[in-house]
């Protein structure tokens, strides 16, 4: 590996100060499971790494009924699996964390790193979209907030400006029991990259009525919400017709591409299949039917 310098700031303020002096060759080091192989292969040649794992503001996992869930950018994915609050209020995040990478990678790779990598196929980011996640960003001009949806600008591109850092994401509290499901297809079970995935989450409002969210992985240039499907699911009784129509909206929203792993045609064909399966899995958990 080519040489670089390393700093380990102890607070967000220190991070911010370092970033003010940062140039294009400064990288933020979160889990390192993506960054280090990139440096090893010579595709990124940093001069300085800023390690954000010692700054408390970037490492909190906190839940309050009023504010909901705050996930520091530097918390490892594995922490989602051990948090009782996540299990109680955001079980979809645990479902996705369990199928995310390997146990070794989950222990290091972070929520923030995963978001900032901006992969179109990011399973966790897709799940976060189902919770209206908002990004807390800090930079020379201070703090700003942006919805996760608008943070993602395409493969490898985010709304972070130079000298800014993603501090945390906040998931508003849901005011009820949330259930979720994530169905996905990878190539040759155990493959790493999701070809297509559909996350669905619902919160019961009253009997048979719920607020719904649906988001797609691998089916557009970034993970994306399918609000048309959400409207259908929220509009009335969840019957076969509604499930099919909502699944069809997932297919309509998909803008897949061809690549070495799969064709756009195949990805598009998966969208309604996975959407339907996720919707049914959610309905089954919530009301015991829909399978």
């Amino acid at each position: 590996m080519q040489p670089f310098d390393y700093v380990r700031p102890r607070s967000l303020a220190e991070v911010a100060q370092l970033l003010e002096e940062a140039d294009a060759q400064t990288c933020i080091l979160a889990g390192g499971t993506h960054l280090l192989p990139e440096i090893e292969l010579g595709r990124i040649r940093p001069r300085l790494l800023i390690d954000i794992k010692a700054a408390p503001e970037l490492n909190e996992l906190r839940y309050t009924n009023s504010e909901g869930l705050t996930l520091g950018a530097a918390i490892p994915i594995s922490q989602l699996l051990t948090s009782p609050e996540v299990r109680r209020h955001y079980p979809l995040l645990q479902e996705v964390a369990r199928i995310w990478g390997s146990v070794q990678v989950r222990n290091r790779a972070t929520v923030g790193g995963n978001i900032c990598q901006a992969s179109p196929a990011a399973d966790m980011v897709t799940a976060l979209l189902c919770f209206d996640a908002e990004c807390r960003i800090f930079g020379p001009e201070g703090e700003r907030w942006t919805p996760l949806e608008r943070f993602l600008l395409g493969p490898g591109r985010t709304a972070l400006k130079p000298n800014e850092v993603l501090v945390s994401v906040r998931l508003p509290s849901l005011g009820g029991k949330s259930v979720g499901a994530y169905r996905f297809v990878r190539k040759g079970k155990g493959g790493h990259v999701t070809l297509a995935g559909v996350a669905v989450r619902a919160v019961a409002i009253s009997h048979g009525v719920a607020s719904w969210r649906m988001a797609l992985a691998g089916l557009a240039s970034s993970p994306k919400r399918v609000s048309e499907a959400e409207h259908i699911l929220e509009a009335g009784e969840l019957n076969e017709h509604a499930i099919h129509r909502a699944a069809q909206k997932a297919a309509d929203a998909a803008e897949p591409i061809d690549d070495a792993r799969a064709s756009a045609r195949y990805r598009a064909a998966l969208a309604p299949v996975l959407a339907e399966r996720s919707i049914r899995a959610v309905a089954r958990q919530m009301w015991g039917y829909g399978a």
């Binding site: 499971t33 993506h34 594995s78 146990v103 990678v105 222990n107």
Partner: protein, 962 residues
């Protein structure tokens, strides 16, 4: 406290690194600012200065010399580098060492409660006794990941184990055994009881040592992290080498300017083709592969080497590479063998693009087809695949004071390495010593030269030891692959299923250089009509040069490809005939007295019918009704399950008229131990156990008293190449004969000493029984020496003679046979395929080493499964897309089906104790068994590998839309 050993190491290395830092500064590079960290490693407190770009794996391996932690990919993909930090498993190859400040690090060396006292952790013990250790390279990672799991879940389910080990890859792929070993260790940890023994069945007729369960002699060092692979070695003053590769698939080199690289401080040598003292080319069969491509010469693939650098550190060598100026004139790319054969295609070699046209002729195919009631024809394609052994290639060359050169390398053919290295150096062979090291897997991929010659050239040029270690990226780009093929099969049969004629036409993509391409494609061709008695056969194969990476040996050696084609075709034929697929195969199967396509009469050891019968019984016992009818599991209307069957045969030994011989030496010592020596290679497959057991059997002595020394061209006689499933048979026989001659010598000495006829002397469990005396073997050694006889025998064994293709007679001296049935589950909506069960019956003549046999079966099935479902070395106009582990997916434990191994033992008269080879045959039927099962489940015929789930899904969608 730092102990002295570590302090010394630390000081030495800190000094070494300071030099590097100075060099960097001199070149206006960012000076590294070292950080002092304190941590505990294996309960020992350490204070060490680390550099920000240093990973924990590098700190552990290079500076603390804890080389049990392995590096397989540096991409966070393979899990080999797993260590525990504060009890959590992490990947140390992507963990900056500076982050270990204040942490507790546990590596394989510190896992046992008291490792210095030789104690083992129950996981280590279970991995040894259950035979979960093969090449051993992944084992530290497996054990550390499992240790973390058992801490969290003392009573893990199979699912827990598979989830935890999901991305801790094993290419020997004894995944089911690994799972059983972890369960056994969990039991021991929970209860405090001893580790439960394995349930692996012995040979049906075990002898004294042969055919019984024994621990691998090298297993202990592999579970403790003590085992040394090439990159674990370090020599004082060692330089680090890097290779400047062409990076384009086809070009003429206009200019190479290395002056700037040579001027970089810290660079000891930069060499180009001009600097080669001897012959430039190497090759196993044809010397067509240039060690370096010079100005005015032709680049034939992306991995061609243009220049090599040796520098004080790997980083400096890398920096020097970037300073080499190269001008290339790109040429049109030949990317497939059919294109290569077109007359208007550019010629890649002097003699054109045809490496070899291989022909098999038997009977009169035109007559055969005219007498057939049904004729089918189809064309199949198989993909380029990579061995993906977990240990990337490494070679160290070291000049000695006597003016010789030692080359440390994991090589399947040490004597061929020696020959090729000496040829390029322009030296006599004896001046080079190849010291073979443990290999983290080979599978055929470590037969050709990788870095050996480059390291040797640089060591000779600088007079210093030089290490050339490939990273995963370089390994994937540079070394030979499995041939991609196009295979057209035309088959004719009578209504009763009798095969009348088979005609095949094969195209093999041998890439830029010959490697073993001619041999591989010959095997593909001779086996292309399957293990059947067919009266009329015609096969033509065109092994073609292209601008893809070279293709060479890979477990299965061409038969993997042609078995997929013919076994798919046989299933299609069964369907068209309305015949049971098992029955069709049984009807045509080769049996004793049968004649192969090359005209060889099989006189003995043809266990194919028994393999078919055993597999069929087990399959029908498990299947609910007709195994070939699709079933829908309850509550899953979108899933279909069905079974598929395939059979295969594979030669043991080189065959085709090549002299096939091996030398082995045995020596008895006065302490009663024996050493068996041969240069044959241990690449994980278990040859050392086989040699140990055969020597022990021949001398009726306990196997633990037999040491095995392999792979050293100074100390071990030439056992020939480790290829063609030949070592158990050929080297096994050499060891057996050497031991038998020694035994006769011992008997003569004892006969004289006790004045009894030699035939009265019995050897029983390490003692010579003579005239009521029980004489320890060490005593016999002393007696022999006192008489002036050396208790040492060198034996050169010649395998039975074979005939070249086209001459009829015995083309091979033995064949192994196998039948496998696979049960798959296909998701009709997504096309995903899961293999649930594989039943594998394998006729290996005689099971010498039952744990090794099971390991080969499990690993072979997993490799066949990967070949069917996950593996594809993707090339885009000669450029690899799959240039990293993340893109080349080998099966993980989550892919592992239940694997039922059924040994079949049709003894081979001339094999050692009746054994023949089995390393390759176990892998060959798996792929077509799976693809046939897919057809039975959902009616989609797979004619292109790997199986594309997308193709299945879209075909099913199109069908339901109709």
């Amino acid at each position: 406290m730092l102990n002295k050993w570590k302090l010394d190491t630390w000081i030495t290395l800190t000094f070494g690194r300071d030099q590097a830092a100075t060099c960097n500064t001199a070149h206006n590079k960012t000076p590294m600012s070292p950080h002092t960290i304190s941590l505990t490693v294996n309960k020992q407190a350490i204070i060490v200065e680390v550099d920000p770009s240093e990973t924990l794996a590098q700190l552990l391996r290079n500076r603390l010399r804890l080389t049990g932690t392995k590096i397989g990919c540096e991409e966070a993909e393979c899990g080999a580098c797993t260590v525990l930090v504060d009890d959590e498993p992490i990947l140390s190859c992507v963990y900056p060492a500076v982050r270990a400040q204040g942490r507790r690090v546990l590596t394989i060396e510190g896992l046992a409660p008291n490792p210095r006292a030789g104690e083992l952790h129950p996981l280590q013990e279970a991995f040894v006794t259950h035979g979960a250790v093969q090449c051993g390279f992944c084992i530290p990672g497996q054990i550390m990941t499992a240790a973390a799991l058992l801490r969290e879940k003392p009573h893990p389910t199979g699912e827990d184990i598979r989830k935890a080990l999901k991305d801790t890859l094993c290419r020997c792929a004894g995944y089911p055994t690994i799972e059983r070993a972890i369960q056994a260790a969990a039991h021991a940890l929970r209860t405090g009881e001893p580790v439960p023994p394995p349930t692996c069945p012995p040979s049906s007729e075990p002898l004294y040592a042969v055919g019984k369960l024994h621990k691998r002699p090298d297993a202990l060092e592999k579970v403790t992290g003590e085992a040394k692979y090439t990159d674990d070695l370090h020599f004082p003053g060692m330089l680090h080498a890097k290779v400047r590769r062409a990076g384009v698939p086809h070009a003429i080199v206009q200019r190479i300017d290395v002056s700037k690289a040579r001027a970089l401080p810290g660079v000891a040598a930069v060499l180009t083709a001009e600097d080669i003292p001897g012959e430039c080319n190497h090759g196993l069969v044809v010397y067509d592969w240039p060690s370096l491509i010079g100005e005015g010469e032709r680049v034939r693939y992306v991995g061609d080497a243009l220049a090599i650098v040796a520098a004080e550190t790997p980083e400096l060598a890398e920096e020097a590479l970037a300073l080499i100026e190269v001008e290339l004139d790109p040429q049109p790319v030949i990317s497939d063998p059919v294109q290569a054969r077109r007359p208007d295609s550019p010629k890649l070699h002097e003699n054109g693009n045809l490496l070899k046209h291989i022909k098999v002729r038997k009977g009169d195919p035109a007559k055969g087809f005219s007498e057939a009631d049904i004729v089918l024809e189809r064309t199949y394609h198989t993909a380029t695949t990579d061995h993906a052994f977990l240990e990337p290639e490494c070679a160290i060359a070291r000049p000695t004071e006597e003016g010789r050169l030692e080359v440390y390398v994991g090589s399947q053919i040490p004597y061929a390495d020696r020959h090729q290295i000496a040829r390029v150096l322009g030296w006599p062979e004896e001046r080079v010593r190849v010291v073979g090291q443990l290999m983290g897997g080979g599978f055929g991929g470590k037969e050709d030269i990788a870095g050996q010659i480059h390291a040797a050239l640089l060591a000779v040029a600088t007079g210093r030891p030089v290490k050339l270690l490939y990273d995963r990226h370089e390994s994937l780009i540079a070394h030979p692959k499995r041939h991609a093929t196009q295979i057209r099969v035309k088959i004719g049969a009578r209504r009763d299923g009798s095969l009348m004629a088979v005609e095949t036409e094969l195209y093999g993509d041998t890439g830029a250089y010959a490697s073993l391409g001619e041999k591989v494609m010959t095997r593909a061709t001779t086996h292309s009509a399957g293990p059947y008695e067919v009266p009329h056969v015609r096969a033509d194969c065109y092994a073609m040069y292209t601008n893809n990476p070279p293709a060479g040996a890979f477990r299965g050696f061409g038969v993997t490809q042609s078995a997929f084609a013919i076994e798919s075709m046989m299933d299609e034929l069964a369907e068209r005939l309305g015949m049971d697929p098992v029955e069709l195969r049984r009807k045509n199967a080769l049996r004793v007295g049968g004649v192969t396509n090359t005209g060889q009469v099989l006189r003995e050891s043809v266990g194919l019918l028994e393999c078919i019968e055993k597999v069929e019984d087990e399959m029908r016992r498990r299947a609910d009704g007709d195994p070939f009818e699709p079933k829908t599991p309850p509550h899953a209307p979108h899933l279909r399950r069905a079974w598929g069957l395939a059979v295969a045969y594979k030669n043991t030994g080189l065959g085709g008229g090549a002299p096939d011989k091996a030398r082995a030496e045995v020596e008895l010592f006065e302490d009663g131990t024996l050493e068996a020596r041969t240069s044959s290679a241990e690449l994980g497959q278990g040859l050392v156990t086989v040699i140990q057991l055969i020597a022990a059997e021949a001398l009726s002595m306990p196997p633990e008293r037999v040491r095995v020394l392999v792979m050293d061209t100074d100390l071990t006689p030439d056992g020939g190449p480790t290829t063609a499933s030949r070592q158990t048979y050929v080297t096994g026989n050499a060891v057996r004969m050497a031991a038998t001659v020694l035994r006769e010598g011992m008997a003569r000495t004892l006969a004289e000493r006790y004045d009894r006829p030699p035939h009265e002397i019995r050897f029983i469990e390490g003692l010579a029984h003579v005239n009521g005396h029980k004489v320890p073997l060490g005593e016999v050694a002393r007696m022999m020496k006192a008489e002036g006889r050396e208790p040492r025998v060198l034996y050169e064994y010649w395998a039975p003679e074979t005939k070249p293709l086209g001459q009829g007679g015995d083309m091979h001296f033995a064949f192994s046979f196998a039948a496998q049935a696979a049960e798959v589950e296909v998701n009709t909506l997504t096309g995903e395929v899961r293999v649930l069960t594989v039943i594998a019956a394998t006729d290996a003549g005689k099971v010498i080493n039952p744990l090794g046999y099971l390991g080969q079966v499990e690993g072979g099935v997993m490799m066949g499964l990967g070949n069917a479902l996950t593996e594809h070395f993707i090339l885009e106009q000669g450029r690899p897309f799959t240039d990293r582990m993340a893109r080349y997916r080998i099966p993980s434990i989550v892919h592992a089906p239940e694997i039922i191994s059924i040994p079949v033992e049709h003894v081979s008269k001339d094999g050692p104790y009746g054994a023949k080879g089995m390393g390759e045959i176990v892998s060959i039927p798996t792929t077509p068994a799976i693809t046939n099962a897919i057809y039975h489940a959902v009616g989609v015929r797979i004619d292109r590998l790997p199986v594309d789930q997308e193709q299945i899904a879209l075909a099913l969608a199109a069908r339901s839309a109709r």
